[in-house]
Subunit: 397 residues, 2 copies
DNA sequence: CAAATTTAATTTGACTATCGAATTTACTGT
DNA sequence: ACAGTAAATTCGATAGTCAAATTAAATTTG
């Protein structure tokens, strides 16, 4: 039943290099993996025998000598699913081994905090719905990745706190794993976004970058040396509560001056009352966005301040972590270019760059289903790591 | 001439574990290194043959069975020296393999920025002075570690900028290496402090912590997973320029609101004019410190604000990196408990701690010569890494 | 006090991952 | 056809590792 019959560590590394590059000849793996040709040959043979990759002829104009045969992932080598919990709904995606989305499904859940039991119930249901669009059954899934906002310990599977769960701390991974009867990985939703960028997005050819998501809250995923960085004690970076103003605006965490208290939906809504007609929160936010886009000065200034605070927070991150690239994504970013502009301006003004190229800033607009895509990446990532660890464990034992 | 005849990677790991633990039996290395007894035996034999360690009988009350023989470092296995550049003087220390200081020496240099040529000249001279107190000659040194404030790239040996160098960017390492004819490692001075804590200080039994130094400026060293973290692009963390106040006080870097602009000597001096009798800068700072200690409210408030800003910066670090321990050290910390108290208060108020033990804060008072001690640790660290790399390179080549 | 017991450390034999060098394979160009 | 060239595999050697057997040095027990 084990989808990855234990791979040797070089085979695992070769696999992830093939994934990153799409289609690549064996020769071209020698350099990046820093292995001898002999070892690359052994590793790729292992991957072929495990039916994880397949050969494909080189389409490039042939030169002299034996033409290279390219290697690529076999899409149907295995399948995973991923999901993300949002405020009010759940999105599920089913992915093949290449990371292509085969099907998605979405289900509404009550807004605000829900119980883990209900979450598990609804996730199972939504997964079934998604699977109906494919030739797969639940038993065909090699792993399931799940992302949610809050403080999540991937290692233990524990969610210590989430704005969308009523009964945290709770071991969401074990609860899900029991229901779906397949391996489950959970993570903070910003980490999903980072992983999605690393595996399939703009971070594909990078080893160090930050992903900042702006939606109901602010999220940060840190990729260092080609892997997610989860902090010294396994909890993700709590960027949302970086202090950008001493004794500043009140945050829902109870502290003052948190970045989130200037940038999150609820923070914008707090100020929107002075700029738009009163109404319910969502309507006011929508009006605020519309007015800002149309050039209404007060509305625009609300977004500008949010962007300014976010830019300042990013500058602080740049000064500490020194990443060459920052990727901005999420719903709010998508709608409001004003925000992005102000972020960039403030970042440039406040980040040090000494005698070297300044940090690149890249805005990646993407929608909800792609969060689930990221959750799939999380599942694939865990499989890859398991394969690597398996080899090490075998060698060590 | 190579002091560490290439060690296998397990031997290198065993060596650093022996260093950390002081004296340890072979059995007790099995667990921490996660190796079989057979491999530990082979590794320690290798270290014995390289004359890096020696046996010593166990002094503990004997139990049943064969008594364990302890292993410890041989102090005279090799020697290193380290130095730190301060504003106005240079300190050098000569260390044995255990990290014990055999001799130190100090030389005055002109205050402010000096040329690299002069630095090298004076370092060589000071090193000779220190060596006169020992039975060693320059040729007996296996490596030389050097720390200075500023933006330093350890990998390339380049100092991109320093408040104490007039001709940066300049490759200080190569310049020093040519003069001393032994391998040289250079690093940011805060990283030295972190390394000294990791090898010999309060971080000895920790794998993740921050070291914050407060002197003329503010420095930060980050230890993650038992090794110095130098940022994605090899430059240290620029904590001094974290923004703690948007559009805040003017910093000597030209930006506004930098932590340093509230905490560094020059920042305190800027405010001191309103609290003490006018005079030259050092005299004013001394008067300020004295008055604050004696309870003079205005003077105390200047330190309190500095501590508050520093605490806020630390809280931001904690939220991003989630370290279990922060070590505060440096001159200013030593003199002003007011600062330390305010740091702790603000840190506690602004760092998130979710359902887990809060970060520990530890104040480590130490003087100038111990910076040089850290520089020695840097040299030892590089030797250890070189030994490990040597083994890997040999295996890979 | 000799034999049994206990714990520490080494040796042995086997296995795996790796490498460099030699070889095989599959093309192009003349 | 056949030399030339580049890609990929095979081969023999080596280093690092482990489990199991063995040796070593002490204490406890009869």
């Amino acid at each position: 039943m084990n989808p990855h019959p234990d791979l040797s560590s070089s085979a695992a590394r070769a696999l992830s290099e093939i994934r990153r590059r799409g289609a690549v000849a064996r020769v071209d793996l020698v350099g990046p993996l820093d292995l001898s040709f002999a070892t690359v040959s052994a590793a790729t043979t292992e991957l072929m025998e495990a039916a994880l990759i397949e050969e494909t002829p080189d389409t490039a104009a042939p030169g002299r000598g034996r033409p290279r045969t390219l290697l690529r992932l076999r899409p149907d080598a295995l399948h995973v699913a991923g999901a993300k919990l949002n405020d009010g709904f759940i999105t599920v995606a089913v992915l093949d081994f290449c990371g292509d989305v085969l099907a998605t499904a979405s289900t509404d859940v009550p807004k605000g905090r829900i119980a883990t039991a209900l979450l598990v119930e609804q996730l199972d249901r939504t997964l079934h719905a998604a699977l109906r669009g494919t030739a797969l059954e639940k038993g065909d899934l090699a792993a399931f990745g799940f992302g949610l906002p809050g403080f999540v310990e991937t290692e233990s599977g524990l969610c210590r706190w989430s704005p969308l769960l009523s009964d945290a701390p709770v071991n969401v991974r074990d609860a899900l794993s029991a229901r779906l009867s397949c391996p489950v990985v959970i993570d903070n939703d910003a980490n999903l976004a980072a992983l999605a960028e690393l595996w399939f997005g703009k971070g594909r050819h990078e080893t160090d970058f930050l992903v900042v998501t702006v939606e109901h809250g602010v999220g940060l995923g840190i990729v260092l040396d080609g892997a997610l960085f989860r902090g010294a004690r396994g909890l993700g970076a709590e960027f949302a509560h970086m202090k950008v103003q001493i004794d500043g605006a009140l945050c829902r965490c109870g502290q003052r001056g948190c970045l989130e208290a200037y940038v999150a939906d609820y923070a914008l809504a707090r100020e929107a009352g002075l700029a738009v007609e009163p109404g319910d929160r969502d309507a006011m936010l929508e009006a605020l966005a519309r007015q800002a886009t149309e050039g209404h000065e007060i509305s625009a200034s609300i977004y500008r301040r949010a962007g300014r605070m976010l830019g300042l927070g990013l500058a602080n991150l740049v000064n500490i972590l020194d990443p060459p690239l920052i990727i901005l994504s999420g719903e709010t970013i998508r709608h409001h270019h004003l925000l992005a502009e102000e972020i960039e301006r403030t970042l440039r003004a406040n980040a040090l760059s000494i005698d070297r190229p300044p940090v690149r800033l890249s805005v990646h607009r993407w929608g909800d289903q792609l969060w689930a895509h990221g959750a799939g990446a999380l599942a694939l990532d865990r499989l890859a790591m398991a394969a690597g660890d398996g080899a090490e464990a075998r060698q060590a034992g």
